[in-house]
Subunit: 347 residues, 2 copies
Amino acid sequence: MLPSLKVIKSHRATGRITLSDVAQAAGVSPSTVSRALRGERAVDPALIERVQAVSAKLGYVPDPAARALASQRSNHVAILIPLLSNALFVDLLDAAQKTLRGAGYQTLMGVTHYDASEEEQLLREQLLHRPAGLLITGLDHNPATRKLMQSSQVPCVHLMDLPADPQALAPYCVGFRQTEAGAAMTRHLLAQGRRRIAFAAAQLDPRVMQRLKGWRTALQAAGCYLPTLEFLNPAPSSLALGGVLFEQIMQQRPAVDAIFFCNDDLAQGALMAALRLGVDVPSQVAIAGFNDLTGSDQMWPPLTTVRTPRAHIGQAAAEMLLSLMRGETPEVPHRDLGFEIVQRQSS
Amino acid sequence: MLPSLKVIKSHRATGRITLSDVAQAAGVSPSTVSRALRGERAVDPALIERVQAVSAKLGYVPDPAARALASQRSNHVAILIPLLSNALFVDLLDAAQKTLRGAGYQTLMGVTHYDASEEEQLLREQLLHRPAGLLITGLDHNPATRKLMQSSQVPCVHLMDLPADPQALAPYCVGFRQTEAGAAMTRHLLAQGRRRIAFAAAQLDPRVMQRLKGWRTALQAAGCYLPTLEFLNPAPSSLALGGVLFEQIMQQRPAVDAIFFCNDDLAQGALMAALRLGVDVPSQVAIAGFNDLTGSDQMWPPLTTVRTPRAHIGQAAAEMLLSLMRGETPEVPHRDLGFEIVQRQSS
DNA sequence: CTGAAAGCGCTTACAG
DNA sequence: CTGAAAGCGCTTACAG
């Protein structure tokens, strides 16, 4: 039998039900309640049950701040992404957040704007909250950032990318081979008979540069590589920029028979520009994108692209982080989630 | 002269520089350091300066958890939005987050999926963190949620909407008149000579229903209202659904001469479907959207729409919240940030 | 204007 | 397996 609960009330000024309220009601010490509730082993199963019952009855909820202060570890997980204006990262965030929340963690988001020192500053701020874990986009960070990650001892998983050398002693990461994906789409276009395949990119972040490398390699292997087919613009990716790039390419290299854009928003913009300019896709020029963002299947013509598993990446990375936070060592430190060529009518 | 600092070291096991380290180094009590650093009045200006100097020298950073525990208030601000897959809310989040971070607050995001009970649950979780403030989308919430907001005493600003009755004793909010915006676009189409103007909507959240009401009112005033011109689909908004709605409308009501979509993604999808089906826009049917989302100006033809100030709303709401958190009372509890008809070639 | 002291609500060695 | 006690790093009445 449980002791009668009706007289149990919080004795704190704040009116909050605390650990000691539960302890008192259950007739055990606060330490035991703490251990029982957190599922620490070495507690009598009968006691665990009693404590849980009382705790539920009282509607006890642990105070995150007190817990963080005492344990030097919060239930926050920090996630650093470059931009919110690229749907890719929003999908990543959404999936990670969902998984983390299911496990009782709060997501602290930071937007780096592709700026290494902003990333460093953000990380510094978030580390103050003693996050239980960290999710960070990409594999390359400035030395200060790397040092912060190391010295903080916070479990960390990197998103979207994999180390070039699979054997390398790289950090935990889940992503796919960007270079391979770039090469695969290029080979796909080659297989469709295209020969003068331009590569058009914006933002020029490390992952874009890997796709560029894949494109180069594939074209070189086919004996079709020309440096003049590279169109690199450091401005942020957008539909509008895609239109601009398309016009530029058609004007400067009218003989081009395909354009591989490093992101779908650019490709979508190019498709719209083609419509506007009366350029027929794919008969006159094929268009391919990257990521299979929302809307790409609705374009006219529908866009050929590389489908990347970003939601899956967000989820798998969160799961890997969860396991690291439990103190486990993942068997596979680098998870390759692959990609898929989606052939539609634009090529 | 400052006391020599070189021998000052943290005496805590954690190695962290604490308030007392600063106090000791500055030769004052911890209470004074606490007050000086937080800019509380009633501290000798000379001391404030000294404390700040020592604190900077030592690289002291306050522990958020300890602060939250002691003060019963964290430096978190919770923000509740319906979806991350609608660019509208991402813009809101981005702007609010930027403003809040500038003021030293961390943003805790919650995604409600337009589900009242999920919203309630999320709020409950976030309240555990004793957020310093709350940003919440919309004006209508279930009774439990309203009660939580009230009893928590957390300052709160509502986003995107305004009370129907401007005189009403409504909570703080910043947004624009959804009903008015719906009516304005409808009048705009009427002024262009359109008479059979359909309204096509998805999601059917409260704001969409207000736009519907505006459309109705405007059509009724012009003597053009027909219930058969309403196409309401509760599914989430997307380009694909826009295409489906477009096909459906053209098939069921071929005489329609304009379609007003409640969100740009639907309208963009309709534009693509028109291309696919060979329906000429705007000569055969005009298309209008809502929000002026990214890409709408790049469509073919470019989309006529209502530009809504979502980034501005996010920022202004964050600023209003900041002022509430300072204990101030905003002169204008309801900020109307307006909207703008953007006339492009699709109508 | 300043300080000593209590307290916020937990966790975690340390004994037993 | 359980408990008493110290401690996490701040804030805030309460005196003075």
